[in-house]
Symmetry: C3
Subunit: 158 residues, 3 copies
């Protein structure tokens, strides 16, 4: 039976999303089953860049949708972001070494069959609509996350 | 035998405390055994609002007690706190959806029998007295945490 | 068979490094096997203070080496750092209780046989040379981390 990796991605930082997706890709290459449960800020990396919905949203929900990053590449660094200078520098350093970008790791994870779940409570509170996210995202309750995590070989909170 | 969830709460952020307590409540509802080990900033969410002690404290300990949040609802967001505006907005959005507040999730966890432990080293260094915390908090050494964690089905560092 | 603790240290914060090393020391004292896999900012705590290399580095790599903390004691707090005042206060409070410093916990972990691994991708992107780190650091790929983690009793992302 294959091993299982379960990631709870809470953070909305560029570098932490990168860590999560590098782990997810690596685990799939080792033939591990991988699930990523995105909660709170972790949902931001799964937003589709061009699919912001404002209809049927409260004032706060609209504001929230506008002032939070839309998709993986829009996230900022957890440190040394320096208004984007640090992030640009990191991306340049990654390119110099011909490493894939965050977007590529996300696409890789999607193609390799990583299962993406979103936290129902977070989605409701933040007011995001299902169609604002990548289509394969499945919204689940915390109970389902807990069951999946308790049967996994590695669980991490990122 | 029931499954076990073990959380090491290191962070003193409102949103991360919320994540921890939502997981804890959910796990208890699934009849999992739940222990929360609070270390460093994680201890702040278990302070009782009206029980600040200054007696028998060094200058630094008194300062520390005054300038750190006193209890769960006083914590700030890990991002977008914006001097409290972001946190107020999040709380408003939670209320609009009739979600419980952090305080309610903490009370729920206490009522549902989540076991709260505090890190002895952290408590000593920060100079907190036992009576400044919720009464059921038990102060333990890192060894006891490790033993408990190693026998749990899910361990997370939050 | 002895239990195993596996830590993925991603953070470059003084307080989180302290948490990781306290766990590592404690686990070794309980005779658990301990591996620490340092990725991204987590590598900073393993830099040797006097071994900055600028030769054969790109401009960005040199800048990166200069503007990031060199070694454990140079890290800053994840919160309340206040330009070093908060960190100084924390260190003073630790000394008052005769607690070891971060450097001591790191030395302790090294002496007790904690296994230190560094993430190959992170090292390449950041442009660090092997000789800039503590000598026992072994650079490995994410696959090796995943295998080790999946066989451990506790896995934490710090």
């Amino acid at each position: 039976m294959s091993k299982r990796l379960n990631l709870l991605v809470f953070s909305g930082d560029y570098d932490k999303a990168l860590a999560a997706l590098i782990l997810a890709n690596g685990a799939r290459e080792l033939n591990m089953e991988v699930t990523i449960f995105c909660a709170f800020w972790g949902l931001l990396m799964l937003r589709e860049e061009n699919k912001n919905v404002s209809k049927n949203k409260s004032f706060f929900e609209r504001m929230f949708g506008i002032f939070t990053p839309r998709g993986a590449e829009k996230l900022t660094l957890s440190r040394m972001n320096m208004g984007g200078v640090g992030k640009g520098m990191l991306k340049k350093m990654m390119q110099d070494k011909e490493k894939p970008m965050l977007k590529d790791f996300l696409d890789g994870a999607r193609k390799k069959g990583v299962k993406f779940y979103g936290c129902k409570l977070s989605q409701e509170v933040m007011g995001f609509k299902k169609e604002e996210f990548i289509p394969e995202l499945e919204i689940i309750e915390v109970y389902e996350y807990l069951k999946d995590a308790s049967e996994s070989d590695i669980q991490l909170f990122i």
